[in-house]
């Protein structure tokens, strides 16, 4: 390459084009991604922002109204606030539980000498299942009359008669959280296990020499060393959790055939559900719905920054 560069001046203009060749390639290679991203993701995102400043139903004329959509959304739409509250509540239910269960499961499986891959594979199966299937299965299992859960509970005399799981405000949220946990547990487990493989074995040996055993080793060595992985899982599941939609929608919209929006008294309405409902199902308020999407985006940025901030300083000390 250097040789080429030295001779560069001596080359007549005609072949200078060929010299530009090698330097052009990386740009050409990067081009398809950049172009398709700009066309199918960046442009829609910017366009949505423009829409969020308009009052538009998708057909008629757009009216520019500035930030009125946002003001309306945050000060005068109790249903939006409720959907935000619901989403946060469900996240509070499933993120800590999935973390704890996933870590325990990973720790146990990691210690196995045989059958590691077997348990891993089985527990990841829910993660690869179609959300539609998960929605149907859970609404069947928790059905008031014929559901498996009620049948078992009444059979063993825990309940006198079936509990109306899907029509109870807290029941509905808990079931959605359960669906998310069931789906993601295996994923959390393999991520934690991947983190454990990276921890060098001699750290454990040193601990053993110092007389640390079992639970102590787990709490004092494994867990602190898995810090980065945990941060990754918390941040990504917060981002994913704020976008919760498939589970609640399929729990209520799929199985029963009725298109009940939001579950009982809207207690299962998440922000994305509200967004989709406002723009494509009950309404076509594209401007207003875009404002919901952007508010969600801001929340996601805010949550990511906060969770990075909470964890970053401690990392610097180490």
């Amino acid at each position: 390459m250097n040789v080429n560069a030295e001779r560069y001046d001596a080359i007549p203009a005609a072949s200078r084009k060929r010299r530009w060749g090698p330097r052009m390639w990386p740009y050409l290679f990067a081009l398809p991604f950049v172009l398709t991203y700009a066309a199918f993701q960046l442009y829609p995102i910017l366009y949505s922002f423009v829409l969020s400043l308009h009052d538009w139903n998708g057909i008629g004329a757009k009216t520019y109204i500035g930030f009125k959509n946002y003001v309306q959304l945050w000060t005068n739409d109790p249903l939006f606030i409720k959907s935000l509250w619901n989403t946060l509540l469900m996240m509070l239910m499933f993120i800590p539980l999935t973390l704890i269960l996933g870590l325990t499961l990973a720790y146990w499986t990691f210690q196995l000498t045989r059958g590691k891959r077997f348990f891993q594979t089985i527990n990841v199966l829910p993660y690869i299942t179609t959300p539609v299937a998960i929605g149907f299965i859970f609404s069947y299992m928790f059905d008031w009359q014929t559901g498996l859960v009620n049948l078992l509970l009444t059979k063993f005399g825990i309940l006198e008669e079936g509990f109306y799981w899907l029509q109870d405000p807290w029941g509905s949220r808990a079931i959605i959280a359960l669906m998310v946990i069931w789906r993601n547990l295996g994923y959390f487990m393999i991520i934690f296990m991947a983190g454990m493989t990276v921890i060098p074995q001699d750290v454990y040996e040193a601990a053993k020499v110092d007389g640390s055993t079992g639970l102590h080793t787990f709490l004092r060595i494994t867990m602190p060393l898995l810090r980065n992985i945990t941060v990754f899982l918390v941040v990504t599941s917060m981002i994913g959790g704020l976008q919760l939609f498939d589970e609640p929608k399929l729990l209520y919209g799929g199985w029963s055939g009725s298109a009940q929006v939001g579950g009982p008294d809207n207690t299962a309405l998440t922000m994305i559900w509200k967004f989709v409902d406002e723009s494509f199902i009950s309404n076509t308020r594209f401007g207003y719905a875009s404002a919901i999407a952007y508010s969600l985006f801001l929340l996601i940025v805010l949550f990511s920054v906060i969770s990075y901030r909470l964890t970053a300083p401690k990392e610097d000390k180490r």
């Binding site: 993701q41 089985i122 527990n123 539609v132 990276v198 980065n228």
Partner: protein, 267 residues
């Protein structure tokens, strides 16, 4: 202690498998029997259920889903591999900037632009077809990030230099040297994209409302609503939907897990 651990592991694994089992078993019963009790053992109504499903144009929808997933996989892996190669293996002006760009794109949720995307698709005249569900995968930020990391670790710079000195053209190097080395990475990314596009529910839900273009998730959630809600048939259809992904997963469970964990361990 060890025994307790095993018991817990087995119970949790059974809980993971149980819904699958129920799904498969429900597909083999007569619909109205489902509500008489818990279907624990397989029934004998599978054939009839399959008939109901097939009569509802299941194969056509299956084809749609396959087209969507296969084309998405090709598009996503192609653009991701190319940009991955550029960022990981070339020194050029704007390389740092491109890398930051990829990481930023990874953090923007697709839903933010959903409305704009759909309006754009309508303007392009492909609003109610399979295209919107496919094109969203044309630029897949996670894929690009994954490929940058993978290229960096697995392709020796010397090899590329040698090929250049031997007079191999840049596209030639990419096709003859880079792609063969990248096979495991390509397989991982392809499985992931296949899985995610196959299971995608939100996007087809809001873009496709012609039954001719339904993909599997949308088709099943609408199956048998017209005359009577046939849960058993739905379950049979769901089982058939899950099976290809299941096979893919079990065949490539090793590469698959590698793909899932790729982003995490590096942080």
């Amino acid at each position: 202690m060890k025994a307790l651990m095993w018991i817990c592991l087995v119970i949790i694994s059974l809980l993971s498998l149980f819904p699958f089992y129920i799904m498969t078993v429900m597909g083999t019963h007569y619909n109205e029997d489902l509500f008489k009790g818990i279907p624990i053992f397989p029934g004998s109504y599978l054939q009839e259920n399959l008939k109901t499903v097939l009569k509802a144009d299941f194969l056509h929808v299956y084809g749609n889903s396959l087209i969507v997933s296969v084309v998405s996989v090709v598009l996503a892996t192609l653009t991701s591999t190319l940009i991955g190669y550029a960022v990981a293996k070339f020194e050029f002006k704007g390389r740092k900037w491109l890398q930051t760009f990829v990481i930023l794109t990874m953090m923007v949720p697709t839903q933010v632009g959903l409305i704009g995307y759909i309006i754009e698709m309508r303007h392009l005249g492909v609003g109610n077809t399979l295209w919107p569900v496919i094109l969203i995968w044309a630029a897949f930020p996670f894929g690009a990030f994954f490929m940058i990391q993978f290229m960096r670790d697995s392709i020796p710079n010397d090899l590329l230099e040698c090929a250049r000195i031997d007079g191999c053209s840049e596209p030639g190097i990419f096709v003859r040297i880079v792609l063969p080395i990248m096979k495991p990475g390509l397989a991982t990314l392809a499985t992931l994209v296949f899985l995610w596009s196959w299971n995608n529910y939100l996007l087809p839900l809001v873009t496709i409302n012609k039954s001719e273009w339904y993909t599997l998730p949308i088709f099943i959630s609408n199956l048998g609503i017209v005359h009577r809600t046939d849960y058993a048939a739905r379950m049979a259809a769901l089982t058939m939907t899950t099976i290809p992904v299941l096979i893919l997963f079990i065949l490539g469970s090793k590469t698959f897990m590698k793909g899932l964990t790729a982003g995490a361990v590096k942080g």
